[in-house]
């Protein structure tokens, strides 16, 4: 009998689905420590290239800018495992809560 009661309650109760992409955007809740788009603290980076070596999906390449070597992240390859953050000796890499990273061109999906 219990499933009948539950069914009856759900019919008139609150729905579980969020209308996410078009409405209810503010109801999307992400916990602290969520791994979204990454951010690089340029001043902390020492250009050791460990992140590039450890990246399991080769989503990091090293370029040279005015201050020396630094990583570039390709979000289309990245699987957000967090190993670069783990490996970084100076804690220069962090992850933000930004999760809507899909884009139509690759240029937008680079984190420089």
């Amino acid at each position: 009998m219990s499933i009948y009661r539950e069914a009856y309650r759900s019919l008139f109760g609150k729905k579980a689905t969020l209308g996410y992409p078009y409405r209810d955007r503010e109801m999307v809740h992400l916990p602290d420590g969520f791994r979204g788009r990454m951010a690089l603290k340029r001043e902390a980076c020492i250009g050791c290239t460990i992140c590039e070596k450890d990246c399991p999906s080769t989503a990091i390449t090293i370029i040279v800018d005015q201050k020396g070597k630094r990583p570039v992240f390709y979000l289309d390859k990245c699987m957000f495992c967090g190993q670069c953050q783990e490996s970084c000796p100076t804690k220069a890499i962090s992850f933000t809560k930004e999760f809507e990273n899909a884009a139509l061109s690759r240029g937008v999906m680079e984190v420089r």
Binding site: M1, S2, I3, E6, A7, S10, A16, L30, P31, D32, G33, F34, R35, K53, D54, C55, P56, S57, M79, F80, C81, G82, Q83, E86, S87, F95
Partner: protein
């Protein structure tokens, strides 16, 4: 058999609505009754073991995690244990308890996922939706705890990546209370619902002797009264400390498997409560050198689906020389083939095939590691 013309071949798979992953069950049916079955699991060879030989141990952590999305913690735990075993330096005590915690949390979400699929396979979509809504509780906890819902990347070589904070512990305890209530509800609702009983009781029978001789593992074997559980038989991580009751049933049918899994979720909830109450202090990670000493190591873990075996051979470099994985589904396939054949008074209907297949909690993409040639 002269009346073989009456038999009809029904292929279930490799693409079929009942299957979430590719497998071929070639059923020979007589009317609605399944007379014989051929199982072919080699549809999704992903070459992961070979790929592991070309990656460093750190990169392999994430490759191995993706062998199975649902049991990712079991796989990484097994991998981590193996590499630490080669180094001869086990993880710190706090990390061990956190590993057990993550593993039990994963067991909860995996069993709830399975319960939903089992309900879906017998055409009970409402129960499926309810169960998966409750699964969200465990996934939300996992997200807060490890940073991601499924591929959590929580376990690392030498320990775990994140520490437990009081806020997450509080959230977890609250979620566990809620889940415990829901599990009691499902236990009641499922054993009261006549149509579910009709579809699951006496379906997919496999006695304890057969289970033992076909070396089945996991909740599937436990539902036939065979108490095999790596957590109790060969404790790893902190399982010596965490008391775990091995849940068994003696119905040997799909209904018992449902009940055993529901009870295991309750056991996991208790284990998580115990872990949160007995969390030792100390570091959560010890850094290990990138080069791993030469040697072999075999690690066993009780994944949600059963015993999971990882074997690694190192030649002293930073890449494994050979990596071998045996997933629980692989051990259960002989039992599946046996369950799907009608013998004597035990009759399998076409309608029973999806739920019998689901009852071993199959994960074929994790299992396919060989290619049939010729």
């Amino acid at each position: 058999m002269s009346s073989y013309e009456r038999l009809f071949d029904i292929p279930i798979g490799p693409q079929h609505p009942a299957l979430k992953e590719p497998v071929l069950l070639n059923l020979k049916v007589d009317g609605e009754h399944v007379v014989d079955v051929g199982v072919d699991i080699s549809y999704n060879h992903r070459g992961m073991e070979k790929a592991a030989e070309y990656r460093t141990y750190v990169q392999n952590l994430y490759l191995i995690e993706r062998v199975c999305g649902i049991c990712n913690i079991a796989h990484t735990l097994s991998f981590g244990t193996a590499i630490e075993g080669l180094h001869g330096k086990p993880a710190p005590e706090r990390a061990k308890v956190l590993r057990v915690l993550a593993e039990e949390l994963e067991r909860i979400q995996s069993h709830l996922l399975w319960l939903g699929i089992a309900a879906h396979e017998i055409g009970f979509d409402t129960l499926f939706m309810y169960v998966w809504l409750d699964r969200e509780i465990s996934l939300d906890i996992m997200e807060a705890f490890a940073g991601n819902r499924i591929t959590s990347s929580y376990i690392s070589i030498g320990g775990v990546k994140r520490d437990m904070t009081p806020e997450i512990a509080g959230k977890m305890l609250k979620g566990m209370d809620k889940l415990e209530g829901r599990m009691a509800y499902y236990r009641k609702a499922i054993s009261e619902e006549r149509t579910v009983l009709k579809r699951t009781q006496g379906v997919g029978l496999l006695g304890a002797a057969d289970v033992a001789s076909l070396s089945a593992v996991g909740p599937f074997a436990r539902a036939s009264g065979v108490a095999v559980d790596v957590r109790a038989d060969d404790p790893y991580a902190a399982h010596e400390l965490v008391p775990i009751k091995v849940v068994t049933g003696d119905g040997c049918d799909v209904f018992t498997r449902i009940m055993v899994r529901i009870d295991e979720v309750v056991e996991s909830i208790n284990a998580i409560r115990f872990c949160l109450g007995h969390l030792p202090s100390g570091p959560i990670l010890q850094r290990l050198p990138r080069r791993v000493p030469a040697g072999d190591f075999l690690s066993r873990v009780e994944a949600p689906r059963g015993e999971l075996t990882h074997f690694v051979r190192s030649d002293g470099s930073d890449k494994p020389y050979r990596y071998k994985i045996k997933t629980p589904t692989f051990s259960n396939i002989p039992s599946l083939a046996k369950m799907l054949k009608s013998t004597g008074r035990y009759v399998v209907n076409i309608a029973d095939v999806p739920v019998i297949l689901a009852s071993i909690d199959p994960c074929f993409s994790c299992t396919a590691r060989f290619e049939r040639i010729g």
